[in-house]
Symmetry: C2
Subunit: 329 residues, 2 copies
């Protein structure tokens, strides 16, 4: 039985809590959030009425007084600046960490000094830390890297995550900008709320594994534009408005494009899938039909990484450094 | 630069030698084979004329006199009984091992006492040992296990490796029994020369990862029978004769089929592919179109595992225990 402290109890942390409650081999024993509306409440009540007998605390110190957890799940923020301080605090209590922080999935090129600092502290404490999730953490970095293990040579890697949003919930359709005029789409893009965090980290992880030193990376967000009016159950979209978003990551060695990531989520995408195309010896073309549901997958992989972070050598790790993660029950 | 001693210089060992020679970050520094026709010969000459400056020796002791290798590639036999002695000999020289031995890929259920003995010696020597290859070692065990990392729950795993042999070389067509009468097919099956080694090991690795205790496993070899006469460039097959082989692995928990592996190699298979079907939450359906060329892939993954065996904790490992393997250059 793996005993977990959950830190960060937003929608993702709550779903992780429910997923943990469904399993026999892992248990949430402490819960922490800074939200004053949560502190003092029952964690089970917050996670839609399951039984937990855990009172949500404001700090890790308070939360671990009764029972010492084996590992922390940290699902608070996406950026390295803010996650670093939280990680350092948790490590002071000698607790290894699995985090959903996107930038933590491969921070060695984007935030080298913060990464080195976390790595140093983790090693001093003899604990491992990893950032994971469905993407970054799996579909666009760890999985394609693993697929290259049957290759003698790799020249180019392309990954396509295409999602048809036609039948998704309204909040998801709103999130991807479906129905917005192109001006409103640009406003939302400028505000940073359309951005999927992690394309650069995924490219850097792949490049690191392949022995490529990327000279340039690009992360481009564009609207998918309606060529004609589209009417779905939830939304009516005018011709020329946004059907959704296409985010493209490009990684170059010199002038040569070596990594191409395309993440498209829009109404009317003809097929949902996750695809890896490797050009090399041999070529590999792998496709997950229907794609991978991101919400379920991120919660699952964070839990599934727990036994492996406990078996890992100490330091700041990536999904490519720790022993192979798989579902456990 | 990783320095390798290659032990076992049959067709597979020779191809591995050529693949290593193509890379800048790994180098064969010693070569060993018991075949009297090979001993004393130049290793580069044996591997089709590449330059090596290595004389093939009969024993590891002789081969490592001039230069100490970092790691051994052991490509000799498929069975645990014979590989065990070879592994013990290599470990005496404090050399970690990556082997193509199929039964070594997951010997914990099929050969527990030999596995424990190797594990104990490897830990005493502080070295890691792993058995790998395209299959077992990747397509039917490590890859599907990794794909489950995005699942909250897994109920059933099916893996299909289908290969159209129509355009393959004559030796491959002969190997799979294409063109044989059903009587001759049975003779070849009884002689054990049709058998793909590793289905049981792959099932046990998956079961171990999923936390399933298999109560029964089956490994069934059947001919794929021609419903009508088939004529290809290399071979004419009569109606009722074998087009090739279908090998099926079934793993049960109680009466419930939990793992189903199907390995079909025959003339006239309409499509070559490698497919993983996971029933769970969520379902995952992943397919490598065109399939993975086994010869290239096995040589590549053995080489690609070298850096990770050097980073691994000591003991007898599986592909699911060592850090994620990927192509390196």
């Amino acid at each position: 039985m793996i005993k977990v402290i959950q830190i960060g109890l937003g929608p993702l942390g709550q779903k992780i809590g429910r997923f943990i409650a469904e399993r026999d081999t892992v248990k949430t024993v402490a819960a922490v959030d800074k939200n004053p509306n949560y502190i003092g409440k029952d964690f089970g009540d917050l996670c839609s009425g399951m039984v937990s007998n855990i009172t949500i605390k404001e700090t890790v110190e308070e939360a671990i007084k009764e029972e010492k957890p084996d590992v922390a799940i940290l699902s608070t923020v996406s950026d390295m600046e803010r996650i670093a301080q939280q990680i350092e605090e948790i490590l002071q209590y000698n607790i290894p960490i699995v985090s959903t922080c996107e930038e933590l999935s491969y921070p060695w090129d984007t935030h080298p000094s913060i990464a080195s600092r976390i790595d140093k502290i983790a090693k001093e404490k003899n604990m491992a830390v990893v950032g994971t999730g469905v993407n970054p953490g799996f579909l666009m970095d760890a999985l394609p890297s693993f697929l290259t293990s049957v290759c003698q040579k790799v020249d180019y890697i392309e990954i396509n995550r295409f999602q048809d949003a036609s039948f998704r919930r309204i909040p998801f359709q709103k999130k991807i900008g479906a129905g917005l005029s192109l001006d409103s789409f640009e406003d939302k893009k400028s505000a940073g709320t359309l951005r999927h965090v992690g394309l650069t980290e995924s490219m850097q992880l792949i490049a690191n594994r392949m022995g490529w030193k990327l000279s340039k990376t690009e992360d481009i967000i564009e609207p998918v534009v309606a060529g004609e009016p589209v009417v779905t159950k939830n939304v009516e979209i005018e011709e020329g408005a946004a059907l959704g978003v296409m985010q493209t990551g490009k990684g170059y060695v010199g002038e040569e494009l070596k990594v191409l990531l395309k993440f498209k989520a829009a109404i009317g995408v003809s097929e949902s899938f996750d695809e890896v195309i490797i050009k090399g010896e041999p070529n590999i073309n792998s496709k997950i039909s229907g794609g991978v549901n991101g919400d379920i997958a991120t919660c699952a992989i964070v839990i599934n990484a727990l036994p492996q972070i406990l078996r890992s050598t100490p330091g700041l790790k990536t999904m490519a450094d720790i022993p192979l993660v798989s579902c456990f029950s």
